[in-house]
Symmetry: C2
Subunit: 155 residues, 2 copies
Amino acid sequence: MDLRKLKHALALAETGNYARAGKKLFITQSALSRSIQALESELGMMLFERHSNGVRVTVAGQEVLAGARDLLRHANSLERNVALMRNVELGKLQFGVGPVPAHVLLPRVMSGAAREKPGLQVSVQIQSAAKLVELLRSRLNFLLPMRDNCLTTVG
Amino acid sequence: MDLRKLKHALALAETGNYARAGKKLFITQSALSRSIQALESELGMMLFERHSNGVRVTVAGQEVLAGARDLLRHANSLERNVALMRNVELGKLQFGVGPVPAHVLLPRVMSGAAREKPGLQVSVQIQSAAKLVELLRSRLNFLLPMRDNCLTTVG
DNA sequence: CTGGGTTACGCTCAACGTAACGATA
DNA sequence: TATCGTTACGTTGAGCGTAACCCAG
């Protein structure tokens, strides 16, 4: 059961017509026909009644397609979250910094971040160098530059 | 973004090792490696840190994989519902019947259904033949046999 | 003849297995 | 050397387009 075939079925249900649904999906009516057949075969049930003037969703199909709509919404939401995380507009940014640079840099950095990236959760670990290298392995995105080791791993 | 690749990533996250994850997925470690690379490329972010003794999920990867887990749960739920509907153990069964056979047959039919298929929602339309044929087009699974037309469409 | 769904045929590319490779302990 | 992950190479099958086909109005 893959998402593409479910999208195909939803488009067909919306239009009630293979040719129009195919247009929306940027595939031919023929390819869509086989895709729907494959889905129905895989699920072991007919989702559409074929008539001379188009198709109609079956009773069972209505239930399945309702679930498919939910699932695709869920998938789209995940994709959007990934896109947002990629742009560091959303998500959790966790980094570490030593005591001295923290005192100098943090006020500017944090206020700037809060202004420009309101969707970003920022959390800072102020620790010794040894502790920070340890933390970097497990839950930090990067370290601000410190005296002896200058790590800049972007997460 | 297809469900197969997400399953692959989750298996890898669980085992922390390509070979073991591949075993669980019934593919080779090589195929899994390329699948993960393709997913990371598609999402535009690294999900795993590669080390000499295996892999670890990145900070971003933890967020993505949490969403993937939800999504796959949702997909499995949909598949289970389809399987149940196929066996008429769950779902809504809607059928119509004329007044006379209703009086004779319904008591036996309904009590039998309630006993053997407790997960099944049954609803009956008792109507004239003309009304029932009309309803059959829109929301009934089948009609019980009537005087002149004997329709037995299983939904 | 037109507008709808299906079937036949051939192509392409994503996914795979095998095997060679590179790196690290 | 043993155990990781990656890369090279060839094969297979799902998915597609084109075109022929079938049926109803």
